[in-house]
């Protein structure tokens, strides 16, 4: 359907359809973010023997995040006097826009996908790298030492961990022979890449946590060292934008891991009577759960250890994985 739309002649009707589709996707993502945050608080609560939100919206706190978002939107928009005004305003937008752009190429099921481009995997990694500007700029524009330190840490961390992230998927690309996400899923008919590429999977998962700035790699916003990192000076809906982009990336990265390593919408054990969308949702939820689980169990890294871990442990392992994969592929054939 999208394919036909892309090739049709442009016009207002066309524009309207695209706009509508984008709005629908945005609403779906916002819905995920709302309940993703609730799920995170609930799961972390249970893991720490607490209840988590249980007041607003019934026993399960179903409206807690909605109330929080309303609070954020109604807050006074404070722009401190000493900030670099244009950049301070621009930074949340630069941080958020790429997070939504990456969703355009992700295949959720074989039919529900917006753009099917040849280099989907590379596109995701490249565009998601743009967010670091938003963080760095926000940190710099705030004119606050903690914010600047947070921004610098964000830049150092995201650039360092992008390299093992790319290197670890190279094994998958070698095996599937394509950068296209649909073809990568199609190649997993007889075995998920999680089992064919266990080393690559683990490296990718660790690096992805660092890219998402989540504990144990949440140094850019570590609250007990840097107050809140790069977004100390932000409040109200500008802060909400940073938060939103973080959770949209959680959505995007979980989708990417599901697609690249867990076989996307393909049904395991030949259970094809259950539709692909449900399988996708199941695998996706498991990945999100593991992220939340890790967040509530692991302590934060020290800044220098973090860099050493990225460059001296993850990168060599990822390189060795590429080497190993190439050898195995040559021996056993494609």
């Amino acid at each position: 359907m999208i394919e036909d739309l892309l090739q049709s002649s442009p016009g207002w009707a066309n524009f309207g359809i695209f706009f509508l589709l984008a709005v629908v996707l945005l609403l779906v993502v916002l819905g995920f973010v709302t309940y993703g945050i609730l799920a995170e608080r609930k799961v972390m609560g249970f893991m720490q023997l607490r209840h988590g939100p249980n007041q607003v919206g019934g026993r399960w706190g179903l409206l807690q995040t909605v109330a929080d978002v309303l609070k954020l939107l109604l807050k006074e928009d404070i722009i401190p006097k000493a900030v670099d005004r244009p950049l301070f305003i621009l930074a949340p937008v630069i941080a958020f826009a790429p997070s939504f752009m990456v969703l355009a190429t992700l295949p959720f099921t074989d039919k529900f996908q917006f753009a099917d481009i040849g280099v989907g995997l590379l596109y995701y990694i490249a565009v998601s790298g743009l967010t670091v500007f938003g963080m760095l700029l926000g940190g710099w524009a705030s004119n606050n030492k903690y914010a600047l330190l947070g921004g610098m840490r964000a830049a150092a961390q995201m650039i360092s961990y992008e390299i093992p992230l790319v290197m670890s998927v190279l094994g998958v690309i070698l095996l599937s022979g394509s950068l296209n996400l649909n073809e990568i899923v199609a190649r997993q008919e007889h075995g998920w890449f999680m089992f064919l590429q266990p080393i690559g999977f683990i490296v990718f998962f660790i690096a992805s946590i660092a890219e998402l700035n989540r504990t144990p790699f949440d140094l850019p916003e570590s609250e007990n060292e840097l107050v809140a990192g790069f977004h100390v000076e932000y409040s109200g809906f500008r802060w909400a934008f940073f938060m939103l982009s973080e959770y949209v990336y959680l959505f995007g990265m979980s989708t990417l891991i599901t697609v690249v390593f867990l076989g996307g919408w393909l049904a395991p054990f030949g259970l094809t009577f259950i539709p692909g969308a449900i399988w996708f949702a199941l695998k996706f939820s498991v990945v999100v759960f593991v992220y939340i689980w890790l967040r509530s169990t692991l302590p934060r890294f020290r800044a220098d250890r973090l860099m050493e871990f990225g460059w001296k442990v993850l990168l060599p392992i990822a390189l060795a994985n590429i080497f190993l994969t190439a050898i195995l592929k040559t021996i056993f054939g494609a």
Partner: protein, 173 residues
């Protein structure tokens, strides 16, 4: 003139790229310039997509996003916090500059307006990632390897430089 979607997209991207370039030259603070640079690079990546060079576009963003971040960090660390470049200009200077720009624009206009680009049908837009790979590893294998050796030398060199500093500091203490 027919307004196709491609045309609109190209105009938008080209405008962003050029405005970014102009702002890069005209803004006063280092960080603002870097932001302008980001817009230019991303817009150029967009133009690559329009030319169906997806791989080049993705790599452009991937490489430059890292590179610009580093420039930005240097901008923050190596310049004074509130430093602004001072504009120096005289009347005559401006006039000559304007004449120079006019002359350049005229020369480019004459050069480009009747420039005949032969339309050769190619298959470059199909599977271009695959084609780039094949060309790199068959036709251009020696330049490719030489480039990687060059990069390796640069990497080793930078590590040696960084190591030396550490040793001296340790000696001082």
């Amino acid at each position: 003139m027919i307004f196709t979607g491609e045309f609109l997209a190209f105009m938008g991207l080209a405008l962003v790229a050029i405005i970014g370039g102009v702002l890069l030259l005209n803004l006063n603070k280092v960080i603002h310039m870097v932001v302008a640079l980001i817009f230019t690079f991303v817009a150029i990546a967009g133009i690559y997509v329009l030319l169906s060079a997806e791989f080049v576009a993705a790599v452009q963003i991937l490489i430059y996003s890292g590179a610009i971040t580093i420039i930005m960090l240097f901008g923050i660390m190596l310049t004074k916090h509130d430093d602004e470049s001072e504009a120096k200009s005289g009347k005559w200077r401006k006039l000559f500059l304007f004449l120079g720009i006019l002359g350049f624009a005229f020369a480019v206009y004459i050069g480009i307006y009747n420039f005949n680009v032969e339309q050769v049908p190619t298959k470059l837009h199909e599977n271009n990632t695959l084609q780039i790979g094949e060309a790199l590893y068959s036709k251009y294998i020696i330049p490719f390897e030489l480039t990687s050796v060059l990069l390796l030398v640069a990497l080793v060199g930078s590590i040696i430089l960084a190591k030396n500093d550490k040793k001296k500091e340790a000696d001082k203490e």
